[in-house]
Every structure is written in structure tokens, then in C-alpha cells.
Symmetry: C2
Subunit: 500 residues, 2 copies
């Protein structure tokens, strides 16, 4: 049986290599590829993806898994071997349920839909995108049907990003959270508006870049195992535990954007850099889920990067970089400025207090689309109504409303909730970290992050995909994903910032 | 049968995609990869290479080729289809002759040998590299044995880079050339040494880069289909006919290096950009051979880039970039400076007059090693003796002698002669171009290169790998590869530069 396990690892190594190679091609596509290279790149990524898929669902893989599953069940259930077999079996089972016809059609539809969406957004023309999105929703409903019987039609989609998570869990979490977030925003709206205009002066892009590099170097980003490049949309990508790259974009008239996006991506990267190297090229490599991944990026960006202790350390340094812009802005003013709350139309520009509401809106619409209780043609209206209810703002057009996100055009339904879940997990972890590192804030005030990084490495990163997300969160915090700590964190923070 | 041809094209497309993907990974490795990423990158490249190889030698491919070869022989022998089948069959036949045991052992030995060579070169310790090179020579002799019977043990190695070329042909060409080149250098050595010290002043690297970009933009390098990055060793690489990238390195105290290397790599890139797009992802994509590839790079670098008409156009511009360094250097002095001949130890730094002798030396040593008439342990002495005979210089150590090139450590034996053959082909083509474009020099003098590029596109580039190199050269110039035009070119040029 050990021999068969070795054989499974060999297949997994090959699949991982193909996926990592595709990641390199994707990174290049977004950072450096000349425009005319796109068509050939699509072919190359298609071939790599197909080969990885074929290997994953091959009869050889199926036979190995069939033989290994009973063997794995006899092993210590917490051993790497048992988990490796379990994760591989889960993946195999899921992938083989989906007919290859569906896979081919989905790839074709989403490739076209992506182009059409980009045009429709540009032209503020939802009608142009509508038939493609209808097709995608149909395809996703067919996709779900391959996993019948299910508790909820949305379960499989969620499970693709959050293994083991159920729609009912997510609905319960967000139902508890929504009224509290809406109420918090209502209270903030009663307070005087914060002036953060100093963040929108002219800031030299190279200096912004340098400051970001200085910060994440202190966080523990390992430049021997990574690098930062520029991209239109910041992202993190890994080609191994020893090659984890981040990207950022820098606006000359917006100090917050690059600064916090750099910390955010660094948070993702620290996770990928911290996975047990023994898991490399096995089913246990990589993160357990997108929500847990997002908990790491949001922790470094928000719980660390938008905190007062952090800026007690770094603000004098930032003032050295930008004396003419910030020399006369005191720490308190700066802190309030970067924590200003303002309900807005665009998710990716939303502040901490409003962000989750953007996500909940999308989740509810996705569920309704999948259930069939909402038609694609009625989506813009449903979007705008919810924006009004939750955030008190109404998009002036669909470009700034229902057409703003790329996800649906790529067929990604089930993804959005992970953003909000990540916020919740980050606060749960933060409470535990405080218990284990009582002087955490003093350490941050001194610009020391090694104990913090050590904690998340030990508790989260090193485990890779060994545990399912809910299992891991419970193991570390004592409870499954729970909105209370995040709500407490927001309330405490904003009652200080807005003095209510 | 058309269906079977489509099937062959499908396999070829998959193999090409894997090769292109590997090329992207290789480009990243040399341009951007963080140091710790190397081990994983090796795995990824290994997997891509293995999958491409497995596909190429698969039973499915073999069966298709077996059926298609008789069909192809009934087609117009000059049709793309007939050629496609022929090239695929040649590649299949060659690859399947080599046992996979050999392939695995060769990959292992060369991976290690490369590291050891780098250390040995650093430490000036040939003894350290010797056992690895012995192993490589053994492996290459075994490799040749799979192709028995052959006319010469070196034939297969040469054929890997120059399809259809025979060792006897290369020996005949170089035997004719060598005494003439040695004699030319002797005559130059009698003349007063040229002062080119102005090339080694301080030259701002960014300005050097910008000037290079300006030149190759005029050559016709298409920035929508390519880009230039920095690398320790300049190279060109292609990920499709629409994504052809070049690299360069810039020294602050050497004006020639980046300038001519940029033109050289651009020459390679123009070839790859000019292949018939219909050949993309078929066996006909890419260049016919390394020598023909080198003919293109050397043409733009030397026949264009080191010519008087070229500098009549570009020298005023270069003086604008570097007024303090070149303001007082007149065109004639500059021209002589960039064409200075000085026998030296290092091939990659050699001038046009001496370059081929560096290559001949290596070719002769390789042939002797393969024949068994020279032992690896005796290689340093044989190297140094030939350096003395051909170039009149003796390496002070092996680092600057037998250890200077990377090729052998990677198992590449049979490669070097393509550098010299490329020079010869470039001059053969140049004669033909002059006949077809009588005012070529005037065009160059005006900074116009479109007719020249059009000619090489039409005659060479677009054909891709359709014709074997000797066949193509004969088709275009009327004769096979012939040293006479190159020798005439060198003699004419240097008799002017050195006034003899």
C-alpha cells in the first residue's frame, strides 16, 4: 500500500507541476505579456489545464484511490497520509461527477462571456451581457445537478471554494451579521464626516512602492522566496512554497490604495510561504480554503495595518517619505483618515465597516439565481434595491452596479462569500492571538511581527490543505466560523474612531 | 487521411503548447525568478519536458505517422502537408531510437554537471568538472550508437541542431575557411592597433537601453508582439509567433556590449516573428536550424549593425545620447573602434574576424572526443595548443580557457559549429540581398530597413521549419552553405578598416 501511496503522490506531483506552470503563465499574462500574446497564451493554459484534469480523473487515479481509501481509514485519522488520501479522494470524486462535455462547454462560454462582460461594463450595457450570464447560470445549475441529492442547490458551488461548508451555515452566519452591520453604518452616518482629503494629494509612486516594501519586509515577507511586480489588479500567486509572488498597483493621487493592497497581498503570500514544505506537490499543498486565505490577507491589511499601534510605529517613517504631504497631519488625524467609513458603490473600494454588506448582497443574489427565484433579466433592479437597503446608496448605472465584478463572467458563482467569511475568521483568530501573545500591541508598536507571524504559521499556515476550513477554525479557536468577534471588533473600533 | 492529419496536428499543438509553456518558465527563471524558486522550477520543467516527450514518442503518434507517411509521399512534395508529415516523422524516428533510460540518465547527469561546472569555472578547477564531462561524452557516444550505422559518430549530434547536415560537410567547410581566417588575422596583426578606448567610458545604462530600443524599433521589432527584459546572459525566446521576447544586459563601462547584443537578439526575434502564422502549433513552426537562426542575428548585428551606412544614419543620434563621451569622436574613428580586431581568450567577446576560429577549435575538439582520439583529461592542453595556433594567445587558466562555455555541462555537443555556419550563411544571403535590392546601402544610410526585413521574411522567415537548412540555403542562394562569401566580406571589410 505504501507503494500505491507513492504512486498517488507521483500523480499529485505531476498535477501540481502543471498547475504551478499554469500559474507562472498566468502571472506573466497579467504582469508582462505583450498584448498580441493573448491568443497563444489561451491555448497554452487550455492545454495545461486539460492535462491536469485528465490526470486527475484518469482511471489510474481512480483505481489508486479506490484501493487507498480503505487503507487510509485504518491509519491515524490525523496523519498526513490519511489526510492526503482523503483530500485526493474528495477531489477525484468531485471532478469525476462532472461530464467532460460540461467542462468543455463551460470553458467556451466563460471565455466568450469574459470579453462580452468587459465590453458591456465599458458601454454600461447589461443587456449585452445578460444572455451570457443566463447561459452561465444555466450551466451552474446543471453543474449542481450532477451532485444531487444535495441539501441546497448552492452547496456544491460553495464547496468548490470552502470545502465542507454548507449554504445553510453561510446563510445563518450572514443573517446574524447583516442587521448589526447595517445598524453600525447607520450610527456612523449620524456622526460628522471624517476629512481624509490628505490621502488624495500627489504621492510619488516610487516612494509609495518603497514604503510598502519596507512594511512587508518587517511583516516577514521573504524576498529570496518571492518578488513584487506591478499589475492592473493586485493578486498573489504561488509556483511553490519557495516562490510566492505578489503584485500591486500604485496611484499617484491615492496613498491608501497601494499601501493597504501591498499588506493585503503580503498576508496571502505569508500563508503560501508558510505551508509545510513536506506537503509540496501533494494534495495537502496550498491553502485549505479561500476564506481562510482571506483571513490572512485581511488580518495583515486591517487588524494590523489599520490599527493604531501599527501607525504609532510606522507613521513617523511614512512622514519621512512624504514630509510635504503629511508633515502637518498628526497621527490621530491620519488614523481616522485611513479608517473613514463611507458607504460607496464599488466593493473593492469599500471600507471595513461596509465591505461585508457588498458581499452579502452578492451572495443573496447568487443563491436566488441558483434557486430560480430570481431571473438574470431582473438582476440590475434587485442589485440596486439591495444597495439602497443595505448601504443607502443607489448606483447611477450598471457599470457601477451589477456589472462591476469580473467573477460571474468567469463562471465563478460561490466565490464572494469567502471574502466576508475571511473577515470573520480574521477577528476570531485575532482574539486567540491576543490571549497567546498578551503584549501583541506593544510588539506591533515596536514594529515587531515575528511572534505574530510565528503564531499564524504554527496554527494555520503550516497545515496547508490538511484540514477543512471549518475544522481548522474550530481546532484553533474552539468554535466554527462565528460572526461575533468580527462584529465586536468593528463596533469597538468605530465607536472610538467616530466617538459614539 | 485528412482526419488523421488533423489528429497529428492536434498532437503537435499539444506538444507545442507544452514546449511554449516551458519556454515561459525558462524566461521567468532567467529574468525574474527569486533564487529559492529554482528547485521547484526544475520539477516543473522536468514534468513539462517529460509530458511533451511522452506524447511525441507515444504509440498513438507512431501509428499516425506510419499511416500518414505513405499518404504524404503522394502529395505535392512541396506542400505544407507533405512537409509537415515529413518533419513529424523525422522527429518521431529520431526520438524513439533513444531509450528512455538514456533520457533519464542524461537529464540527471547534466543537471548535476551544470552545477559542478559553474563551481569548477569559479574555482579554476578543471579536475572537478572532468569526471562529469567524461560521463557526458560517454553518454553522447552511447547516444550516437543508437543511430548506427552512421557515416560519422558526430553526425547525429550535429543533426540535432542542423537537420540533414553531415560532419563531413562541416569539416570540408571549416577546412577551407580556417587557413584563410588565420591568414587574415595575421595580416591585421601587422597593422597598427586601433584605439577604441572611447567605447569604455562611462555610459548611462538607461540611455544605452533607450538607444538599443530605438535601433531595433527601426529594424522592425514589433513591441505589440514582444518585449525586452534584462538577463545575465542575453537570449531570445518565443511563446508563439506573436510573443517573441528578447533580453539584454547593460554594462555602464562598455558601450558595445548591450548595443550589439540588442541588435543580435532582435535578429533572432525577427525570424521567430516572421514565421508563417499558419504553421503555429504544427511541426513546421519555429526555425529550420540554429545556423539559419544565427545567420539572422549575425546579419542584423554585423552586416547591418557594424557597417558604415548604418552608422552614417545612427551615429549622430548616438552622439546626441552621449555628447560628452562621443562629441569629439568622429564617425570614422567610431567605425574603426567598433570593428577593432584583437585575438582574445573568450568566444562571446570575440570580434567578427576571430569568432569563427573560437568555434572551429571547439568543433575539432568535440569531434576528437566523440571519435575517442582525445581524452577528456587531455582537453585543457589540447584547448590551449589550438588557441596558440589559431589565435596566437594562450589562456592563463582554464576558467578563461576550456571552462568558459556552458554548453558541454548541459550535454550540448554538436552545437558550436552552428555559430560559425550562421556567419557564413549571413554573408551568402547578404550577397543575394544586394542583387535584389541594389540600393540597400542607401536605404540603410537613410535608416530604412523595411525592404531588407521584407526580403528575409519572404525568403527565410516565413518558411519556418518547412525546409532543411541546406535545402533552404540552396533554394535561396543557389548553393549550399559556402564559406567564400563570408571570407570575401571579412577581407573586404578589414582591408578597409586596417588599410592593407
Amino acid at each position: 500500500m505504501e507503494e500505491k501511496l507513492e504512486q498517488l503522490k507521483k500523480i499529485s506531483a505531476e498535477i501540481t507541476d502543471l498547475q504551478y506552470a499554469a500559474a507562472v503563465l498566468g502571472w506573466d499574462q497579467q504582469c508582462y505579456m505583450p498584448p498580441a500574446g493573448a491568443a497563444a497564451r489561451g491555448n497554452q493554459l487550455g492545454t495545461l489545464g486539460r492535462l491536469a484534469h485528465e490526470r486527475l480523473v484518469s482511471d489510474e487515479t481512480g483505481k489508486l484511490i479506490e484501493e487507498l481509501v480503505p487503507y487510509g481509514e485504518q491509519l491515524d485519522p490525523d496523519s498526513d497520509e490519511a489526510r492526503m488520501i482523503k483530500v485526493a479522494a474528495r477531489e477525484y470524486k468531485k471532478r469525476t461527477r462532472v461530464p467532460s462535455d460540461w467542462v468543455v462547454e463551460f470553458a467556451q462560454v466563460t471565455t466568450n462571456a469574459h470579453h462580452v462582460w468587459a465590453e458591456a461594463r465599458q458601454e454600461n450595457n447589461f443587456g449585452k451581457f445578460q444572455p451570457y450570464l443566463e447561459k452561465i447560470v444555466d450551466l451552474r445549475r446543471r453543474y449542481a445537478s450532477y451532485f444531487e441529492p444535495y441539501d441546497h442547490v448552492y452547496d456544491t458551488l460553495l464547496d468548490d471554494f470552502e470545502p465542507g461548508m454548507k449554504t445553510a451555515d453561510v446563510i445563518a452566519i450572514f443573517t446574524a451579521l447583516r442587521p448589526q452591520q447595517v445598524e453600525l453604518i447607520r450610527r456612523i452616518a449620524e456622526r460628522p464626516e471624517i476629512d481624509n482629503s490628505f490621502l488624495f494629494k500627489q504621492y510619488d509612486p516610487q516612494k509609495q512602492w518603497d514604503f510598502g516594501v519596507e512594511v512587508i519586509s518587517k511583516f516577514g515577507y521573504d524576498w529570496k522566496r518571492g518578488r513584487q511586480d506591478k499589475a492592473a489588479h493586485p493578486f498573489t500567486t504561488s509556483f511553490s512554497v519557495d516562490d510566492v509572488r505578489i503584485t500591486t498597483r500604485v496611484f499617484p493621487d491615492n496613498l491608501s490604495s497601494a499601501m493597504f493592497s501591498t499588506m493585503h497581498e503580503c498576508g496571502h503570500a505569508l500563508y503560501d510561504m508558510g505551508v509545510n514544505p513536506d506537503y509540496e506537490r501533494t494534495p495537502l499543498t496550498g491553502a485549505t480554503s479561500l476564506a481562510v486565505h482571506e483571513s490572512q490577507s485581511r488580518m495583515w491589511e486591517n487588524l494590523v495595518g489599520r490599527s493604531m499601534p501599527f501607525w504609532e510605529h510606522f507613521y513617523p517613517r511614512l512622514q519621512e517619505y512624504f514630509p510635504s504631504q503629511l508633515g502637518n497631519v498628526d497621527l490621530g488625524t491620519f488614523y481616522k483618515g485611513i479608517n473613514k467609513v463611507k458607504p460607496s458603490l464599488i466593493r473593492v473600494e469599500a471600507d471595513e465597516a461596509t465591505y461585508n454588506l457588498h458581499v452579502m448582497l452578492r451572495l443573496e443574489l447568487e443563491i436566488a439565481l441558483m434557486e430560480g427565484s430570481l431571473q438574470v433579466k431582473d438582476l440590475p433592479e434587485a442589485w440596486n434595491n439591495r444597495m439602497k437597503d443595505y448601504l443607502g446608496v443607489t448606483p447611477p448605472n450598471d457599470t457601477m452596479g451589477v456589472l462591476q465584478d469580473v467573477h460571474w463572467s468567469g463562471g465563478m458563482i460561490g466565490y464572494f462569500s469567502t471574502y466576508a467569511l475571511g473577515n470573520l475568521v480574521s477577528a476570531q483568530l485575532w482574539d486567540c492571538i491576543h490571549k497567546d501573545i498578551p503584549d501583541l500591541e506593544d510588539q506591533i508598536r515596536r514594529g515587531e511581527f515575528s511572534a505574530l507571524l510565528g503564531w499564524v504559521r504554527e496554527k494555520i499556515h503550516r497545515h496547508g490543505a490538511k484540514y477543512e476550513p471549518q475544522e481548522l477554525v474550530k481546532m484553533v479557536t474552539g468554535t466554527k466560523i462565528d460572526p461575533a468577534p468580527y462584529m465586536d471588533y468593528l463596533t469597538k473600533k468605530y465607536s472610538e474612531v467616530y466617538e459614539f
